[in-house]
């Protein structure tokens, strides 16, 4: 791509400063983020993020696909929380269609979304600790992550690119033994979190590297569009799951951890506590899982069961029509936001009444959170930049789309 051939995006301000290029192939930038730093000795004066290395034009591709085909594209945006992307997109299209989703499907969506949050936070914790120099946490986190990925594989056949949520419900009823498997994981997980905390929370090196580092005030966090744990660590008590509930999140009891310390340590503690809360939601979902169908009664939108498709003419016709022509969605526009592990993930879907979306736009939480990075690092030490990048938990797939 042409990025590397262009001149540096910032010029040295005065004598004594130098321009340092960090990334796009840097192990602690969590992907292909490039930062252009202006430094004076050990101090960072300015930071300019340069993105776009993973740009694949997903938004353009969506316009050329049927509504149901877009679901598989949404997995690829944020590869650490594919099910959250699935959920946000299908909720938006269901809102456009005016479709009512069975309760069991909604609860299963909540259950899997919280497992996704645990999965994403585990990757974040492992890599963030690795960046700062704590190797063993990474190995512990990936041990539990493997369990979550196996659960995903069980329901969808895929470890990462699940595409398990469909417009109108779920792809399939979860297989036998699924709930036992989740129960086993959820029962053992709090003890695992204790293990991570034992390694880090009171570890003097960890505390030294994170406390008071990468401070951002509440006003700045709001003005720069930060969301999720990054915003909550600056003292804003706002979580879409609780405050603008979707997919029956209002039926669950959970706490939203908030801190006013606004530093890397606060963001770490919040995410660890969020993992515990997510685990509580998983337990509640398991305990109160309603019975019933997992797909809405909308034959023109939802694919029929395979069995019905093979034995009933009407189902076969619907199946054929959905696959070959898609289904028309009434004209309109919808902005659906969900709380992803990183913050507000929003899908803006515009329909012109045909079977293909006229426009799909994804508002990535990382995209906005990244704008808060310069504010966190400028005027501070260069070694803290790595800690700051880790603490906002960016995923470049979501930023570049």
């Amino acid at each position: 791509m042409g990025h590397l051939t262009t001149s540096p995006t910032i010029e040295p301000g005065h004598d004594g400063t130098m321009i340092l290029n960090m990334g796009p192939q840097h192990p602690s930038t969590h992907g292909v983020l490039r930062l252009v730093l202006e430094i004076e000795g050990e101090n960072v004066i300015r930071i300019m993020p340069d993105i776009g290395y993973l740009h694949t034009g997903i938004e353009k591709t969506c316009e050329a696909k049927f509504y149901q085909q877009v679901v598989v594209l949404t997995d690829r945006i944020d590869y650490l929380c594919p099910l959250t992307n699935n959920l946000c997109y299908v909720l938006a299209v269901e809102k456009l269609l005016g479709l009512e989703i069975p309760e069991r499907a909604q609860w299963l969506r909540v259950l899997l979304n919280e497992l996704t949050r645990i999965n994403s936070h585990l990757v974040w914790l492992g890599t963030h600790a690795l960046d700062i120099g704590a190797m063993s946490v990474f190995l512990y986190c990936f041990r539990e992550r493997e369990d979550v990925l196996r659960i995903f594989e069980m329901v969808s056949g895929q470890r990462m690119m699940t595409s398990y949520f469909r417009i109108g419900g779920l792809a399939l009823e979860p297989p036998l033994g699924f709930f036992d498997r989740v129960k086993k994981f959820a029962d053992s997980f709090p003890k695992r979190v204790d293990e991570y905390e034992e390694l880090l929370t009171s570890n003097p090196i960890w505390v030294e590297r994170t406390k008071g580092v990468a401070y951002i005030s509440q006003e700045d966090a709001i003005a720069l569009g930060a969301t999720g744990p990054t915003l909550r660590a600056s003292g804003v008590d706002f979580d879409l799951r609780r405050d603008i509930p979707y997919s029956s999140y209002d039926k669950f009891q959970f706490e939203v951890p908030v801190s006013t310390d606004s530093d890397v340590f606060a963001r770490y503690i919040l995410r660890v506590r969020e993992m515990r809360e997510s685990n509580k939601i998983v337990q509640q979902a398991l305990a109160g899982m309603p019975s019933g169908p997992v797909k809405a009664d909308a034959p023109k939108v939802v694919l029929p069961d395979r069995e019905a498709m093979k034995t009933q003419m009407e189902s076969l016709i619907y199946h054929f029509k959905i696959i070959t022509e898609g289904f028309a969605v009434p004209e309109g526009e919808v902005y659906q936001a969900v709380e992803s592990p990183r913050g507000e993930m929003g899908y803006y879907v515009v329909s012109d009444g045909t079977a293909k979306p006229y426009r799909v736009h994804m508002r990535g939480a990382s995209f906005a959170n990244l704008q808060a990075l310069p504010k966190m690092c400028e005027g501070r030490l260069i070694a803290d930049v790595v800690a700051a990048i880790g603490s906002i938990d960016i995923v470049l797939g979501e930023i570049d789309r």
């Binding site: 776009g52 526009e333 929003g346």
Partner: protein, 165 residues
């Protein structure tokens, strides 16, 4: 939930703070409004967008203190061709509003709102990059996703999905 007809009558929509405050400030700024699928959209005259955002942010009742998203839609070949869409969120009131401006196909240009919310920086750069819409007063309007020397604006409807170059 089942679909219900959209409400487009401005008088019926004044119970929403966003509509009421904008009308009280400047009737000419509000072109139309629509309440559809539980979401409120307000069309704003392009020359008033920055002030409208500032009014909604600073108003003690509306309190739209957070910019969620900015994006654009290309309605090619109809005119005015482009629609820039702003999603505002009120964190204290847990409410959303969508502001829209329509821009012509030739030399589309609108005032930047980076002075109201610095968060607009990346969003506006992305729209400039992919739609070719200019934002007046943006501090650093350069391509964000595509390489600097890229020709064309990929998210425009007259730009092919595949087969270019």
């Amino acid at each position: 939930m089942p679909l219900v007809p959209a409400i487009t009558d401005l008088e019926l929509l004044t119970k929403h703070f966003a509509v009421a405050q904008l009308l009280a400030w400047n009737r000419a700024a509000v072109l139309s409004a629509k309440f559809d699928r539980d979401e409120l959209s307000v069309s704003i005259a392009p020359s008033h967008i920055r002030e409208s955002c500032a009014i909604l942010r600073d108003d003690s009742q509306a309190q739209f203190n957070f910019l969620s998203d900015i994006t654009a839609v290309d309605w090619y070949p109809s005119e005015p061709r482009f629609e820039v869409v702003y999603h505002l969120l009120s964190i204290p009131r847990r409410d959303r509003v969508r502001l829209k401006v329509r821009l012509p196909g030739s030399d589309p240009c609108v005032e930047s709102i980076t002075t109201v919310w610095p968060a607009a920086d990346f969003f506006e750069r992305e729209i400039f990059d992919l739609f070719g819409i200019q934002f007046h007063g943006h501090p650093y309007l350069r391509r964000l996703m595509m390489p600097e020397d890229w020709e064309g604006y990929p998210l425009r409807k007259d730009y092919p999905v595949e087969g270019y170059r």
